[in-house]
Symmetry: C2
Subunit: 358 residues, 2 copies
C-alpha cells in the first residue's frame, strides 16, 4: 500500500494517455477532478491486488460521456462522491475498495475522484490493461462476471440503477441513458469480491501507467528522447517514425473513426503507414501489410516530446513515433479475441501478436 | 369496492379504446394479458378513490413499447407480476394499491395484469382521463408529483430503476431504455400516498371506460346505433359523419403522425373534416376551421359498429363518426395546456373548449 498524491496523479494521467492507445477519453478532465479531490481530502491509498481481502467488496468507478458532452460539460466532483453511497444503497453492500475499469484514458484516474472524498482505497489493477470503447470489454466478462448491478448519476442528479442479463445489454442501456441525459455521467459498476478481483483483474496497471508517465517526464527533464525511454522501459516496439500526411476522420454521435496516413522518416524513409482507429487505434498497416491489431496496443507519440496523440486530435504535419505493446494475454484467448479482436470492430483482419514482428 | 372479472375487463378494454382518442397503444394486447391473469388468479378488486386510506402507497403500472416492438413482442405475464416486488425493493415500501396511468388505450387494463397475481386492488382513477404519448403528461405533474422512483423491466429481464430531477427527464430516460431494450417493457411509476392520489388523480375513469364499453356492446346487441348510444350516454358531441377520402401518415421510430381527411355524409354532406394526429388525434378541422383540439378528446368510431378506429389503422373508405368529448378541467388550466395543449405538439393553434361548439 502506498499513497497517491498530486504528483503521482500527474504521472498516472500521462501514462494513462499512452495506454489509452489513441482513445479512452481525455484524461485531462479526469485529472482535474481527481487532483481537486486529492487537494481537498488528501492522498488516496493505492493497494496491491494481492493485498485485497477475499471477502472485500470492490466496484469500478468510471465516467461516461454523452456524445460531444464530455468536453463542454465537465463532470462534477459531487457526483463522484455521491456515486459510492448510491451504489451501496442499490446493492445493499458496503463498498471497501474502488478500482479503475481501464488503465488507459480518462477512467484510469476517475476512481481517485471518488476515493478521496469517501476515504476508500483504490486497487492497483484494471479490467483492460488499456482502453476499450464498450463497457462489456472488461476482463470480468471473460470470466462470467457481470457489469451490473450498476448505478449511473448524471450532472442533473438523475440516477439510473441497472440490472441486466448480459454485459452487452448493460452497454446498450448505459449508452442510451448517457445519450438521453445529454450530459456526462459517472458510474459504479462490475461489483465483485476480493477473491473474484484476484482472478479477474489485471494487476499493477495503475503503477504501470504511473511508471510510463514518470519515464516520459524524466526523459523530458533530462532532455533525452521520451520515445526511446518508453521503448526501453516498457515492453514496446517501434512500429514507425514518420510525418502525418493525411487524416480521414469521421465523427458520428461521439464516435471517432477513420485513418491516419504517415510518410516515413529516418529508418522508415520511403515506407508508409496507415493507422486505423475507432476511438482507439485498432490496426497499424505498414507498406500495405497489417502488422499490429487490437487488442495489442498502438500508440502515436509526438516525436520530440513523447506526448501521446489521441486519434481525435492527430492531424497533418505531426511528426510521430508509432509504438506497439502487447496486450494482456487474456485478450489473446479465443473469447478475448471475440470480444476485442479486429473482427469485433468490423475489420476483415486476423489478430497477429506483435511479438511476431520482432 | 367491486370485483373486476373477465366480462368487466372486456367492457373496460372497449371503452378504453374510445378514450384512447385514436392512440394509447392497442388495448387488445393489454386485455390478453389481464384476462389471462384474471382467469388464473380470479377477479381483481376495484376500489373507489375516496376509499383509499390517506397513508396507503399507490403506484401506476404501465407498459411501454420499443418502437415497433409492441406488436411483435407481447409483454409477458411474468414481468407484470414481478414489477410489483421490484418496485417495493427499489423504494423500500410495501405497495397497497395499483392504478392505471391512463384511462385510454393499452394502459387502462395493464394494471389488472399485475393486480391479479399479486392480490393487490386497483384504484378506480387515472392520471389523464384519456391517453397521452408522454410519461410526464400525467395530472401529478401539474401538482408537483414525481414520475420517479420508477422501475422498468423488459422481457429480457433487464431492470432499470430510475430517479430523475424532472418528469421530463423520466420520459427521456425510459424512452431511451425502451429503445435500447428493443422490446416491450412494464413499468411501476409515480408512487404516491393515498392523500396525494385523492388530490392528484381523476376519479372514476376505470368505471367510465367500462360504462362506455358496455354502452357500445349493448347497442350492438340491441341492433341500435352505438354512436348514438355513446353520444347519449357520455358528454359527447358529434363533430362529423363522413367517409375517409385520404390518409397522410408517417411512422418514424414508432411515432405515428399525419392527417385523415373525411368527406361529409348525412347532415355533413358537402362539408369536410381533417383530423390531425400524432399517436393520438390532436385536432379536428371542419371546413377549414379548428373546432376541437387536444386536450379535449377526438375519437373516430366506425359508423355501424361503433368500433373505435386508432389513428394508425384509419384508412381510405372507412365510414366514421367523429365525436368529441371535453377533457378533465385540470388540462384546461394554464399549466395543463402548457403540458398537453396543441402548441405542446407543435400545432400553431389555440385550445378552444369543445363546449363552445354547442
Amino acid at each position: 500500500m502506498r499513497m497517491i498524491d498530486e504528483a503521482a496523479l500527474s504521472d498516472i494521467t500521462l501514462g494513462a494517455t499512452v495506454l489509452g492507445s489513441g482513445g479512452g477519453g481525455d484524461p485531462y478532465l479526469g485529472w482535474l477532478l481527481a487532483r481537486e479531490a486529492v487537494r481537498t481530502h488528501g492522498p488516496v491509498p493505492l493497494v496491491d491486488l494481492v493485498d485485497v481481502p477475499d471477502d472485500a467488496y470492490i466496484v469500478f468507478v468510471a465516467g461516461m460521456g454523452a456524445p460531444g458532452a464530455l468536453l463542454e460539460k465537465i463532470p462534477r466532483a459531487a457526483e463522484y462522491e455521491r456515486i459510492v453511497a448510491e451504489m451501496e444503497s442499490y446493492t445493499g453492500r458496503k463498498i471497501d475498495f474502488l478500482c479503475p475499469a481501464e488503465a488507459g484514458g480518462l477512467n484510469a484516474v476517475t476512481p481517485f475522484a471518488s476515493a478521496a472524498p469517501t476515504g476508500l482505497p483504490v486497487v492497483d489493477a484494471d479490467a483492460m490493461g488499456r482502453a476499450f470503447p464498450f463497457l462489456e470489454m472488461c476482463t470480468p466478462t471473460l470470466h462470467g462476471g457481470s457489469t451490473t448491478p450498476l448505478v449511473m448519476i448524471d450532472e442533473h442528479h438523475n440516477t439510473v440503477c441497472l440490472s441486466t442479463q448480459t454485459n452487452h445489454w448493460a452497454e446498450s442501456f448505459t449508452r442510451a441513458a448517457a445519450v438521453a441525459s445529454g450530459a456526462s455521467a459517472v458510474m459504479a459498476l462490475y461489483p465483485m469480491t476480493g477473491s473474484q478481483a484476484k482472478q479477474w483483474l489485471i494487476p499493477g496497471t495503475v503503477t504501470q501507467a504511473e511508471q510510463l508517465g514518470r519515464t516520459i517526464r524524466e526523459a523530458r527533464d533530462a532532455h533525452t528522447s521520451p520515445v526511446d525511454a518508453v521503448l526501453a522501459d516498457q515492453n514496446g516496439t517501434l512500429l514507425f517514425t514518420g510525418k502525418v500526411v493525411d487524416v480521414d476522420r469521421r465523427t458520428e454521435r461521439g464516435w471517432t473513426s477513420g485513418t491516419a496516413t504517415l510518410s516515413g522518416m529516418d529508418t522508415f524513409e520511403d515506407h508508409s503507414m496507415v493507422v486505423h482507429f475507432q476511438n482507439e487505434n485498432l490496426a497499424a498497416v505498414r507498406d500495405g501489410e497489417v502488422i499490429v491489431t487490437t487488442p495489442d496496443l498502438i500508440m502515436a507519440l509526438e516525436l520530440d516530446t513523447g506526448e501521446p496523440i489521441p486519434a481525435e486530435e492527430i492531424r497533418y504535419g505531426y511528426r510521430v513515433a508509432v509504438i506497439g505493446m502487447p496486450c494482456n494475454p487474456i485478450w489473446r484467448t479465443e473469447n478475448g479475441l471475440k470480444l476485442s479482436g479486429p473482427r469485433r470492430f468490423g475489420y476483415d483482419m486476423d489478430f497477429r501478436p506483435i511479438e511476431e514482428l520482432t
